[in-house]
Each structure stands twice: as structure tokens, then as C-alpha cells.
Symmetry: C2
Subunit: 306 residues, 2 copies
């Protein structure tokens, strides 16, 4: 299943693992890369030293290429951007803004650059700035989201840019990969399905939330009180936050109630955790090794595309 | 392009036209059916006499099968349900609830029944009640919407029921049709693309709003003040309504401000009209005859699926 994205990244299968803060660490990234996908370590808000250790640990587990996701709003973004170069990582994905100021340095160092974009305008801007590919992410994705959906966004981005387009949001099986190809993508980014990978180091509680979620068990908070909506599983906590917003809480109050909530979920705190995951969690029903997840996706998609 | 849905409805192409209140009238329905799709007249809140005339007018324009969409919250739903039988229509689609109480009579009369469903639970319930197929509609659709997306909803509904699944929401070209097939659907329902059909009798102003819309020019109102979210084009009016909601307006105030707004849009009132349309309006750039729209979709999808 060779596409422009497998060529660009030097990987076997057109599957990029999502860069999920607090979640995408070395064990998951190495497992995905080892299985032929593009594994990613998430920088999140972590200091460079922490991520340096993560990268070293991943290198000890696999000799396949992997990358780093940089959340551009992080106070450590500059340090992480340099770390990508120092560590000679194969590629970098970016979220929450434009990585324009880093692109030249990355490209000089041979790092492939794949910004996550929520709309056509940013996609075009990223390509003008030198991005090697763009990841068009629909609002079915977990965590911070835009307002477009994968079905609508991917073909419009594909029409607008002349670099490879990766589809993200709402994809967890081979049907999703095959659909993404039809929409004009040459690969997919998958986050939520890998939450239920055996190698993913989140708490069993978090995995259980994802596995038990049905098609309607998804909530977007932050649409009312802030300008940064976030998707996660429907829990007592997330519903309470949504109610608080509907009652007109301030953005400060919202931030105060939700600060640190993702880390709490990773650690298994049901009452105060924000269990970020995509809308497609409803279709994720089983914990498996990352290699089995990837094999299954590729086999199903291959069958459909024949 | 024969599928279970073309067989079920006796149509040439697996494309059902959306039942858009105030919009889907005889000329559009007849044009879509004549071109090989499944045309639909929308009952909306109209009295049965009005719809009876619409049906007569459509029958005068085409001898191909067409159907009626019944909005179940309409005060005239009972009358329209009977009209479907009296007029020996080929099929009926339903929105805004469960048509369970009508299904037996429709089936006895040979009318095929296709409820629009926003989630897996209602899909299963409809199939138990005797639905011949279900239309799984993602929140990228225009008008009243649920909270799931086409990409996530379609495969989950396809896994849950053993009747044909039609994908709706976010589909406006052959890429969307091909993607829907990959996700497990055997046909699509298309609304927004037909807003820009030559035969669609909305004002030129409305068509211009759809054609000029970019990927980000979509707004969902009613999520905060009501339990019935509605998607439409981003205009001064729809943004004002959203702001009103964010400031905590009551559902009564919301209803008062928006009552009749769709009809105003149909008539070309930019200032007070609610220009309901799907998120995929960003990809609709040209007015064409319905037959050309359908031909283009089928040709593109056919090429992709080869």
C-alpha cells in the first residue's frame, strides 16, 4: 500500500499515529513505527529534557523512523523544535497554530514537516511556508478540535493544495482508511484507536472509558466559554463542565475546572479526569497490540479497495 | 451502479435527494427522479392539500418514482402519512423522531420506508419497527442535526443493522459517494448540492449564499438555548443568533427570533433569513441542472471505484 505519504516518511503503511499529549510516549510510538506505521511522541507541555529521554527510549526500541508532535502553544515549543533537529527525527507534526517560523530550519535538517490543519486557509498557508504534507483533521478527533468534519474537510483541502493530504478524525478501521483515500487523502492519522493499543501507557480506566463508549458518548466542551473546543468521552465530569458553560461560566472558571484534567484521566481519575478521545471511540471495542491494529486496518482497506 | 438501494427504490443511481422543508418541491424532485435518482418532496409543516398539489405537479413532470419526506414533529404528519398511501408514492423518508406508528400501514401499501437516523439506537429501533432501509445522517448536514458525523456514524450503523444504509451529511460529489460506499453505505442522500440545482426554486440570493460559502462558513445554532441544533450558512443573522445563545437567551427567545427564518431565506431575505445548508456548501461552487449534478457524481465515483 504505497502512497505519497509512505514515500515521504519512509514507512510501510500510510498510517500516522496521533500525537496525543501525555499519552503518545515512546512505547506506543516505537510499537507503531515497528509495525510499519509512523509512530509519534507527543511533546505536549513537557520540557525538552523529558522528551529527550522519551526519544532515547523509543530509539532503543525501534530502528524505524518516528516523529515528534509539537503543540505550538506550549511554552517549550522552541526547545522542542530544536530537539527535533538535534535528534535527527524523521518528521514532525504540529498542532494548535502555525509552525511557520521553524519550517526552514527543519527542512534544512531533512526533517519532514506535517502541520495539522482544521481548514483550507491554514492548509494553503502551511504549504506556502514549505510544509511537506498537511494533516486535515476533522472535528470528530479527540482533544482540541476545529469545526469542520473529515468528510467535508479532506476533499476541500485536497483541492486546495498540491502536497500530500493525510486525513484525521473519525478513522479507526480499514473502512475509514479506504474512505479517506476516496476523499483524496493518501494516508490517515489515527489517535483514538491507539488509545486501546496494548502498548499505550494510559490507565486501564482510560482504556475502559474508550472501549465502553457508544456512538453517542462524546462531548465537546469549550465551545461556549472559550475559543478552544475539546472533544472527549461523555462522563459525569465532562457533562458537568458542559452544563457549567451553558450556565454562562467565564473562560477563567472553565480553565480552572479543567486544568490538568487530561493528566488525571491518564492516571485513572474518573471523577476529575478529562478522557479526551475521538467520536469514533464508539467503534473501538478491544485492546490489541498496535501491530494487530495496523494489520487489521490494512487488510480491511486492501479488501475494500480491490 | 446497482446497489441494494437502487433495487429497493427502483431507481438507476444510488442518490436520494434530501427532503428540505420549503425547498424540496415538485420541480426539483421530478428533475432528480427523471435523472435516475430518488427525488423527494418535503412535507415540512405544510397542510396535506398543498402537498397533494405538489405531488400532482411532480407526477405531471416525471413518470419515475419519487417520495415524500415527513417531518414527524409537523402538526400535519398524520395527514401526510395517509397522503403517501393515497397517492401510492414509492417511498417515504422521515425526520425528527420515530415514524413507528405509520410503518405498518405504509408497508401494507407497498411504500418503502427510510427513516433518517442520527445514531445507532434509533437505527436499530427503526429496523425492528420494519424500516426497509435507514438514512444515517451526520451533523455536517444542513437543517436539524444530531451530534455524530458521517465518517463515524455510517460504519457504526452499518455494523448494527441488517438493512441497507444510506449515508447523509457532507456528501456533494463523487468522492463523497465513493467514500460512503467504503464506510458501508449502499447509497447517499444529498441535500446541499441540490440547493444549487437549476430546478431548485429557492431565491437566487439563497443559491448565492451556498455558492459563495467557504469551508468555514457554517454555523450551528440551537445547541445552547434549545435541544434542536440547526446548521446553516454563516451570515450576520446566524452569527447574531449564536451570540444571543452564548449570552444565555431563553429557548422561547431563541424560537421567537428564528421562527419563519428558513422561509425568509428561501424568499431571499438576507437580514432575517436562516440559510440552512450543510457544511459541504464550501465545495458547492456552481449552479447546474440536477441531471448534470448526478451525472458528474456518478462518473467521478465510478472512476474512483475502478
Amino acid at each position: 500500500m504505497n502512497t505519497k505519504i509512505t514515500e515521504l516518511l519512509g514507512i510501510k503503511y500510510p498510517i500516522i499515529q496521533g500525537g496525543m499529549a501525555w499519552i503518545s510516549e515512546h512505547k506506543l510510538a516505537a510499537a507503531v513505527s515497528d509495525a510499519g506505521g509512523a509512530g509519534l511522541i507527543a511533546g505536549g507541555n513537557a520540557p525538552a529534557e523529558v522528551i529527550e529521554r522519551e526519544i532515547a527510549a523509543a530509539k532503543a526500541l525501534t530502528d524505524k523512523p518516528f516523529g515528534l508532535n509539537i503543540m505550538l502553544m506550549s511554552p517549550n515549543a522552541d526547545d522542542l523544535a530544536q530537539l527535533v533537529i538535534d535528534e535527527k527525527l524523521a518528521f514532525v507534526t504540529t498542532g494548535a497554530g502555525s509552525p511557520g517560523k521553524y519550517i526552514e530550519a527543519w527542512k534544512s535538517a531533512g526533517v519532514k514537516v506535517l502541520p495539522v490543519v482544521p481548514g483550507v486557509t491554514l492548509a494553503k498557508r502551511m504549504v506556502r511556508a514549505g510544509a511537506d504534507a498537511v494533516i486535515a483533521e476533522g472535528c470528530e478527533a479527540g482533544g482540541h478540535i476545529g469545526e469542520n468534519t473529515t468528510m467535508c474537510l479532506v476533499p476541500q483541502v485536497a483541492d486546495a493544495v498540491d502536497v500530500p493530504v493525510v486525513a484525521a478524525g473519525g478513522i479507526a478501521d480499514g473502512r475509514g482508511l479506504a474512505a479517506a483515500f476516496m476523499l483524496g487523502a493518501v494516508g490517515v492519522q489515527i489517535g483514538t484507536r491507539f488509545l486501546a493499543a496494548q502498548e499505550c501507557q494510559i490507565s486501564q480506566t482510560y482504556k475502559d472509558v474508550v472501549i465502553k463508549a457508544k456512538d453517542t458518548d462524546s462531548v465537546v466542551t469549550g465551545r461556549i466559554a472559550t475559543t478552544h473546543p475539546v472533544r472527549g468521552a461523555k462522563t459525569k465530569f465532562s457533562r458537568a463542565i458542559l452544563e457549567l458553560e451553558k450556565c454562562g461560566c467565564s473562560s477563567d472558571e472553565f480553565e480552572e475546572k479543567t486544568a490538568g484534567a487530561l493528566k488525571k484521566a491518564v492516571d485513572g481519575n474518573v471523577d476529575e479526569g478529562s478522557f479526551m478521545c475521538g467520536l469514533i471511540a464508539g467503534m473501538v471495542n478491544e485492546v490489541k497490540p498496535a501491530a494487530d491494529i495496523i494489520d487489521e486496518i490494512i487488510r480491511t482497506a486492501g479488501g475494500l479497495l480491490k
